[in-house]
Amino acid sequence: SQTIHQWPATLVQPVGSPLSLECTVEGTSNPNLYWYRQAAGRGLQLLFYSVGIGQISSEVPQNLSASRPQDRQFILSSKKLLLSDSGFYLCAWSAVGTDTQYFGPGTRLTVL
């Protein structure tokens, strides 16, 4: 069966520091991968998606970037965090040719 992992689970970072969040998927090949952000008390907003290694598309302009160095690894990064980057970040995957997305446990980021 497929599983999706995210780490760290929680993170507290100062403004201006770098960020690296990691997401890995097991039990499937060539998945579509997604990064979403959830602000407090809100729904989820798609940030990035990837259909393959090195292929990244951005949904909204922002202080963040994403990379996919391996088939089942998706990384969310920032060079300098802003207060507005605080939130709950969720990674998701879907199998090629299917619609259903499955979400990881999330990373709760607080920027102080």
Partner: protein
Amino acid sequence: GIQVEQSPPDLILQEGANSTLRCNFSDSVNNLQWFHQNPWGQLINLFYIPSGTKQNGRLSATTVATERYSLLYISSSQTTDSGVYFCAVLFSGGYNKLIFGAGTRLAVHP
């Protein structure tokens, strides 16, 4: 873009009560998913339901795509049903983009 509206925004129930959550969407969509976000933040897939009715235990969902709404029914609610329920519609433009509603926050008291 597609708008997704959920109602009610908040719901408080006594254990054992039934409830109906509603999701309206503004345009034709290829699919719709219902999720439950537990108190730890985990999003759990409940239903993948482009049309028709599905049931899973005490939960069932109905989507009427032609009228652009979906309903989630919770029967005999339990405290473990507490959390936030999201519907998300699928917009396909070369990839599968989920557009989420703002959610319904449910609290079930014993």
